[in-house]
Structure formats: C-alpha cells, structure tokens
C-alpha cells in the first residue's frame, strides 16, 4: 500500500511540474518577447503584469468548439495531440532534481528521454496525415524531414555526454560532471541545444508550421482544447530539453549549497537554457527548407561527430 501511495505521490508531482513549468516558460516568452520588441506584453489578466494570461488562454481554449473535419481520419486525428503530451510527460518523469529526487529512477534514463521524446514527433506526423488538409499534409511531411535530420545530431550529442560519464543514467551523468565539461562538452551542448530546438519545431526551425505559407502546418485543422494540447506539448518540450541539457551539460543540481537547494539549481539552469531557446526565436528569421537540412547535415552532424572524437580522446586519456 505504501508503495502504491508513493507511486501516486510521485506521479502527482510530475503532473504538477508538467502543468506549471510550461506555463512559466510560456509566460516568460510572452514577457521576454514583448520587451525585446519594445512592447509590454500581457498586462491585465490576473492583475499584476498579466501573470494569469496563460490561464486565461486555457479557459478560452476550453470554451471553443471541438471541430473534427469531415475528411479527417477521425480516431487518428483525435489521438494525435495526446501523443505529444504523453511523451513529454514520460520524459519529465526521469529528470533528476537531486541525487535522490527523481520521480522514476531508471538506469537508462537518457535513453528513455530520447526514446519517448521521439514519440511526441509521431503525434505531429499523425496530425498532419489525418487532418485531410493539404497544408497539414505538407506541414507533416516537412516536420518528418526535419525530425529525421535533427534526430541524428541530437542522439550523437547525447551519446557524447553518456560516453564522458560512462553511464546512460542522468543521475550518474550529473554525478560525473566536473567544471571541465563546460569546455570539453561545449560543441556537444551547442548541437544538443540547436537540434533540440529543431525537434520542437520552434522558430527559427518552424518550417513545418510556417504560418505565412502553411497556415499552421499539422495544427491547421485543430481547435479548442486539442490545439491547446499541442501548444502545451511544445512548451513542455522546451522544459524537457532545457532540463535535460541542464543535467547533462551544467551538472544538474551541482552548485553552492546543493545539499539544501539542489532542485533550485536544476530549475535555474534549465530556465537559463529555456530563455536561450526563447531568445533564439525572437532574434532570428525562419530557415528555408534547404537551409534547414544544410544546418543539420553539414553543420550539426560533423560537429557532433567531432565532439564524439573529442570525448573519446578525453575519456581514453584520463582513465
């Protein structure tokens, strides 16, 4: 019974983090983007500087009609948003916030994150294919092409961290972290950040949802709560990528007073990467489809391979 209670408690914690952290990132994006564009952003919802804007957005989404197009493949269409949500929920469960503070302590947690993270992209493909809409279909094809290209450097970069630590467990990787990694694993971290952003189809890698040419890509036909789930999945994706990168590259909970405020360090470092992901969106224009592929295959893959060589040399020399 106590084991069952513990499982429920841990799941509840993950669910709360899953619902709160993406909203924090979303609100940060609202405000950061506004000020970077000389605006104020939301100012009314909730009273103080529009802190409840995303809650209000959520309420609005729930009030909207849930439309399934006549030409859609209905069960697939209905299922697609859930897949994206569930994948990042599962990924969030294994991210450690301290040496023992992890909802699901499994040994191959890095592999787990990469594996379930890839499921979410299947949701996008399903949405694109099942909508019965040419824009959604083209968006789905673009996102398929993009995901195939960027999955490679992402996994290579993750492999570099695993090699450096000699473990697939995020907890062990964070334990093995030393300040030297900041220099040693820098190319890998850059590759992971860029490829992770591209996996999330965030600007500047938002070719699949390019609104000026594809309306909203695979999300074109979605309304109401299902559309909101896609948005939530996108921001949950930012949270997962940022936290994983914080654990891999910045040593997770490592920092001053980490016995007392270890989880705080993980959140702070994750927030740092989340802000960079948002900042990239606000500063750079969207890549064309061919430029997108060029960045992946001619930029990130060689860099990731170089990082693997560098990591291998480092591991061999120091052990």
């Amino acid at each position: 019974m106590s084991t069952f209670g513990e499982v429920v408690l841990r799941s509840l914690c993950v669910l709360i983090a899953f619902l709160v952290l993406p909203l924090l990132v979303g609100q940060t994006e609202h405000k950061l983007m506004a000020h970077m564009q000389g605006r104020l952003g939301p100012m009314y919802a909730g009273g103080f500087h529009g802190w409840a804007q995303l809650v209000a957005d959520g309420v609005k989404f729930t009030q909207k009609e849930d439309i399934v197009p006549l030409a859609a493949d209905k069960p697939v269409f209905r299922l697609a948003p859930a897949l994206g949500i569930v994948s990042y929920l599962l990924a969030l469960a294994v991210i450690p916030f301290g040496p023992h503070l992890v909802a699901a302590g499994i040994t191959g947690s890095l592999l787990w994150v990469l594996a379930v993270g890839a499921i979410g992209t299947v949701g996008t493909l399903m949405a694109g294919w099942s909508s019965g809409n040419k824009y959604a279909l083209i968006g789905g094809l673009r996102s398929a092409a993009q995901l195939v290209s960027y999955e490679v450097p992402l996994i290579l970069a993750a492999a570099s961290f695993a090699m450096a630590a000699g473990s697939f467990s995020l907890v062990s990787i964070a334990h093995a972290w030393t300040p030297w990694w900041l220099l040693w694993q820098l190319p890998g971290a850059i590759v992971f950040l860029v490829a992770g952003t591209a996996e999330l189809q965030r600007p500047p890698f938002d070719m699949p949802v390019a609104d000026s040419e594809l309306v909203m890509g695979p999300w074109t036909e979605y309304t109401g709560l299902r559309f909101a789930l896609f948005l939530l999945a996108e921001y949950a994706g930012i949270v997962v990528v940022s936290l994983v990168l914080a654990v891999l590259y910045l040593g997770g909970w490592t920092g001053p007073f980490d016995h007392q405020i270890g989880p705080f360090w993980v959140l702070l470092k994750g927030f740092f990467f989340a802000v960079i992901i948002l900042w990239m969106r606000m500063s750079w224009p969207r890549l064309r489809e061919d430029q997108l592929q060029r960045v992946a295959w001619l930029g990130l893959v060689p860099l990731a391979l170089l990082q693997i060589v560098l990591t291998a040399a480092g591991v061999v020399l120091t052990t």
């Binding site: 950061l32 506004a34 000020h35 970077m36 564009q37 000389g38 605006r39 104020l40 100012m43 900042w279 990239m280 606000m282 500063s283 750079w284 060029r294």
Partner: protein, 186 residues
C-alpha cells in the same frame, strides 16, 4: 550561399541576439491608454465644440459638410428697435444644432468655414457610445465641449497684431488666430 554569407553567418546570429537584448533594456513604447491618458498635441481633432452665442444659423457649415452630418433648425424673430423711432430688426434664433458623429469624418471643414468662430476643435475623444444614435450630439452637448477647447497657439514672433475686436457677445471664447480671408465656398 556565397563565401561572404558564410563569413557573416555566426556573427550575424550573435548580432541579432544583441539587438533584441538591447531592445529589452530600453523602455517599451506601449501607451497604456486606459490607465494613462495619452499626451495629445493641442490641436488634435477629437470632437467639435459649439459656441452657441456666436452662431448666426448661416448654414455655411451644414452646406459645406461633405457627409451632411450637421443639422440646423432656426427661425427669425423680430427685435424691437433699441432707440426711439428706430427700425425693427430681424434676428436668426438657433433652435437646433446637431452634429452626428457617427457620420462625421473629422475633416474640419465646418470649423474652417465658420465665419463667426462658433465651431472649434477639442482634443477630447472619449465619447464612444454603445448605441450609434447617441453619437448625435445636440447643441447643449456640443456646447459642453467648449470648456475643453485649448487656447489658440501663440502668434509667431513679429506677426502683425490686430486691434482687439470688441466682442461683448462671446463671454470666454478663445480667440483663434484665423485667416480672415478664408473664402466661404462658392
């Protein structure tokens, strides 16, 4: 992609991030309108005010209005002679003066064309209504806007100073520096 583009790729990205970061440190341009009232220029075209005592019901404004949104009704009254043995005089009495702001396009021709300084621009603009019929301002409401008409701009240095006109009829009206040779329409 040419070599020149390649050279500028990463510096260009960093420059973009620098630009957005700098913009973030500056103050936002947003006007928080309902909370902070805007600093409008003094001659903003907000609403048209009527100085009723100056109006002679000459109808010039109503005739010149491009979308015919000014309604004037008047009648003539006979004024007894002021001196013994004098002649009776006829005088126009304004019954109704209304501007329909749902039709008005704020061109200001009525104000330009008025030869008796009865119409003025006021910068007040917050008179939206939920019913379009309430945008028809009758003369008492148009008269209330007179309090918000700003003083006319000061004359330029060296401008010829006119003799002050004796205006007993206008109690507190601003004295616009108007061009006297305005041709009131063919």
């Amino acid at each position: 992609m040419t070599d020149q583009d390649k050279k500028g790729f990463v510096p260009g990205l960093l420059k973009g991030m620098g630009t957005t970061a700098r913009a973030m440190t500056r103050h936002a341009h947003t006007q928080e309108y309902p909370d902070v009232s805007p600093q409008l220029p003094p001659r903003s075209r907000g609403v048209i005010a009527l100085e009723e005592s100056n109006c002679t019901s000459c109808m010039l404004c109503a005739r010149e209005c491009p979308d015919w949104c000014i309604y004037i009704d008047s009648h003539k009254e006979t004024v007894p002679p002021t001196t013994e043995g004098g002649r009776e005089r006829k005088e126009n009495v304004l019954d109704r003066f209304a501007i329909d702001f749902s039709l008005c396009m704020y061109c200001g021709i009525c104000i330009e064309v008025c030869p008796f300084d009865a119409l003025f621009w006021s910068p007040e603009f917050e008179y939206a209504e939920t019913d379009i019929r309430d945008l028809l301002h009758e003369k008492d409401r148009l008269g209330q806007w007179m309090a918000t008409v700003p003083a006319p701009p000061a004359l330029d240095q060296g401008a010829p100073v006119d003799q002050p006109e004796p205006t007993e009829s206008a109690p507190s009206e601003p004295q616009p520096a108007q061009a006297p040779d305005e041709d009131p329409a063919p």
